[in-house]
């Protein structure tokens, strides 16, 4: 089965092509095309995953491009991480395909939507199958395009257009980091292939500074894709896209690609303490930074988006602290519960046609299925014991502590508190209390929307049990099998960390309960401490404004400066030359007196000049 893993990405590609060419004729049937092909991918992925449990890594390659003596290859590789990612991506993609059939019903560009989804799924699956950096980069960019197209799906909305553009350009900034890092690494190791790179790094053929440099550059790529600080601003804006897209791309798969990349290149990062520390610091900072913004947002999807950024920061923190398993584990559980949250949010939006949580409320009774499912997701992300998020978050905290970063550990703990708080704030505001605006025709979503949510809800509960301190760390052991460098499947940590994590999250829930359910604590408790803080948070620390005033203003200014040069200096030079030539011409025409004698004299003087030069130089250019 593994040797046929290359088929997995091809199914969605096929779906993309079919829908692009015949979408107009297929109309509603487009959904079935997409669903069937992704189902095929999912089945194959499951088969591959199960086969990978028992068999070693499979890899194959062929020559893709010849450059003189350099032979660049393409191919695919099925190792533990890849197999796991294949499963996650194809599962979420399949569920989102199913869900969208209901959610996008009635949109006139229904087939196009499915085509784009196919393209994205193809790229994402291709990304996780890549055995070398170049191929990774190729799919990395394609994933970006898929995301770009889907964010801008409602193309006649100005916000969607701006968000799509922003997403593409901001991730591209990160991609350039990856691009440079990749090329530098290539010239150091003479290969793009992961295995060759690790070999070269192990043998010490690459200097320490170079490892650090390339590792950080590659991490910049991950920063862009995974929405880490300071390139995070595109991710919340990306919520302009249809909600299923947010679930697929901006929660479960693409944004996790950054984490995946760091994980895939983990041996490289392990070789550089500085790079690891950078990752850990950025991860931790992003986690708390995004969580704090999430505290005050009022758009349901934006809250989830900031929570995604924050959770991705968690994963980065785990990887940066050397907790390979913790990072990947959280990546998996997060994929499930965040996809669930987004789909549930989508279901809510579908029902009430607004995204502003200030206008919602009291939906628990109206959405009998969505409500509990949303609660499951909220509990999971808050790290309430016995749900998947609890185990993976615990692993991360332990990894941070054991990695020797007490400050980062503390930040992560605070972020956990905030997460619990804002998630339950969201939950209480949406589902409890009284409706804060007129809401007509509120109804539960159709089956094809609830089915994916239920499946994800189940996974959000149970996915954690594959790797727990109590029932064995089967998952972690398998993940690091054959790669001792990646660390242990499970890191033993002091028991108080688990207790602390639990207490913190429960505390967060309790505060949210007081403020938004019982209303015994003033809702303006935060703003009470100072309007300034609230304003700053509401404006996302003014990062966008900062970019607007610095980078974009600079670019524009520089462009206008260059245009000034183009119009006045370059054109001016040309005009000057033209003027000189015209002047010469005028002088020349004045000299045309019409007198043969003058002409003869001038011609003769010219001849004499030539003759003298000839006589003096011998007439041959030396």
């Amino acid at each position: 089965m593994m040797e046929n893993a290359w088929l997995i990405p091809l199914f969605p590609l096929l779906s993309f092509l079919i829908l692009l060419l015949f979408g107009k004729r297929l109309k509603k049937a487009s959904a079935y095309v997409g669903i069937i092909f992704t189902l095929a991918s999912l089945i194959f992925s499951i088969l591959v995953l199960f086969e990978r449990f028992s068999e070693p890594t499979y890899m194959t390659k062929f020559e893709w491009l010849t450059i003189g003596d350099l032979h660049l290859t393409a191919g695919f590789e099925v190792n533990q991480l890849n197999a796991l990612m294949l499963f996650i991506v194809s599962l979420v993609s399949f569920l989102v395909h199913t869900y969208s059939k209901g959610y996008m019903n009635g949109d006139e560009r229904f087939p196009v939507f499915y085509a784009y989804l196919g393209l994205f799924t193809f790229a994402m699956l291709g990304l996780v199958l890549s055995p070398n950096l170049l191929q990774t980069y190729i799919f990395w960019e394609l994933v970006g395009v898929g995301s770009f197209l889907l964010i801008g799906f409602y193309f006649n909305k100005e916000e969607a257009k701006a968000a799509a553009k922003k997403a593409f350009i901001m991730t591209r900034i990160g991609d350039v980091g990856l691009f440079i890092g990749m090329i530098l690494l290539f010239w150091e190791t003479k290969s793009f292939e992961y295995s060759e790179i690790f070999k070269a790094v192990d043998s010490g053929a690459v200097s320490g500074t170079m490892i650090t440099l390339t590792a950080i550059l590659i991490f910049i790529g991950a920063v862009g894709k995974s929405g880490q600080f300071p390139l995070h601003t595109w991710l919340p804006d990306a919520m302009e896209g249809p909600t299923p897209v947010s679930a697929l791309i901006h929660a479960a798969t693409m944004v996790a690609a950054g984490v995946y990349l760091v994980a895939a290149l983990f041996p490289l990062f392990l070789a550089s303490k500085t790079a690891l520390l950078t990752i850990a610091v950025i991860g931790a900072f992003t986690a708390i930074f995004a969580a704090s913004i999430g505290l005050v947002q009022t758009d349901i999807k934006r809250v989830l988006a900031y929570s995604t950024v924050s959770q991705l920061g968690y994963m980065m923190l785990a990887l940066g602290s050397g907790g390979y398993v913790a990072g990947v584990f959280h990546l998996m559980t997060h994929a499930f519960f965040k996809a669930l949250l987004f789909l549930a949010a989508g279901s809510v939006i579908h029902a009430v046609h607004t995204q502003n949580i200030e206008e919602m409320g009291g939906l628990w009774k109206k959405l009998k299925l969505t409500g509990p499912l949303f609660l499951i997701g909220t509990l999971a992300i808050s790290g309430v014991p016995l749900l998947s998020g609890f185990f993976s978050k615990d692993e991360i905290l332990i990894a941070a502590w054991e990695g020797g970063h007490p400050i980062l550990f503390l930040l992560a703990l605070i972020a956990a508190f905030m997460t619990a708080f804002y998630m339950f704030r969201l939950f209480f505001m949406v589902f409890t209390g009284e409706a804060r605006s007129e809401m007509k025709h509120v109804h539960e979503s159709p089956n094809n929307m609830t089915f994916p949510m239920i499946l994800l809800g189940v996974l959000a509960i149970v996915a954690g049990y594959v790797n727990t301190p109590w029932f064995g760390s089967f998952f972690g052991d398998w993940l690091v099998d054959g790669n001792p460098a990646l660390g242990h499947g499970h890191i033993e940590g002091p028991i108080w960390i688990m207790i602390a994590a639990t207490v913190v999250s429960l505390l967060g829930i309790y505060v949210a309960y007081l403020m938004y359910f019982k209303r015994s604590l003033s809702r303006n408790w935060l703003s009470g401490t100072g309007d300034t803080l609230h304003t700053i948070l509401l404006n996302k620390y003014y990062v966008d404004e900062f970019y607007q005033l610095t980078v974009i203003a600079f670019t524009k200014g520089f462009s206008y400066f260059l245009r000034f040069i183009d119009v006045f200096v370059v054109e001016g030079l040309v005009k000057g030359v033209v003027g000189i030539v015209q002047g010469l011409g005028k002088t020349g025409s004045k000299m045309q007196t019409g007198q043969v004698q003058t002409y003869g004299a001038v011609a003769f003087i010219g001849l004499a000049l030539l003759a003298v030069i000839f006589a003096l130089t011998g007439g041959y250019l030396r």
């Binding site: 045309q592 007196t593 019409g594 007198q595 043969v596 004698q597 002409y599 003869g600 004299a601 003769f604």
Partner: protein, 104 residues
């Protein structure tokens, strides 16, 4: 054999040619310009005859060419003068400054 070297004749021809040229390019009187051109032709003839005697392969051909040149010069002088007179008839002057119909 001869005490006068070929280069002496050539130098003489050069000097005459230069005089003719100077006259042709600076004189205002059209007749003098024509005369100067004759002088230049004469200088060329000296060269032809000189090479006929002192050239790499001396032969009578040089002299024959000189004859032809004289012939052409005679024709040129007659036609040139005819043009001059025709012009004079219309412009009433032989001043070369006035002969600038090439300008327009």
């Amino acid at each position: 054999m001869s005490s006068v070297p070929a280069s002496a004749f050539l130098a003489l021809a050069l000097i005459l040619f230069c005089i003719g040229l100077y006259g042709a390019l600076t004189k205002r009187n059209t007749v003098i310009v024509l005369i100067s051109i004759e002088l230049m032709l004469n200088a060329v003839n000296i060269n032809l005859v000189t090479f006929s005697k002192y050239g790499m392969t001396p032969s009578i051909t040089g002299q024959i060419f000189a004859l032809f040149a004289i012939c052409v010069a005679a024709a040129e002088a007659s036609v040139g003068l005819a043009i001059l007179i025709a012009l004079y008839r219309t412009k009433k002057t032989v001043n070369i400054d006035e002969m600038n119909t090439m300008k327009n």
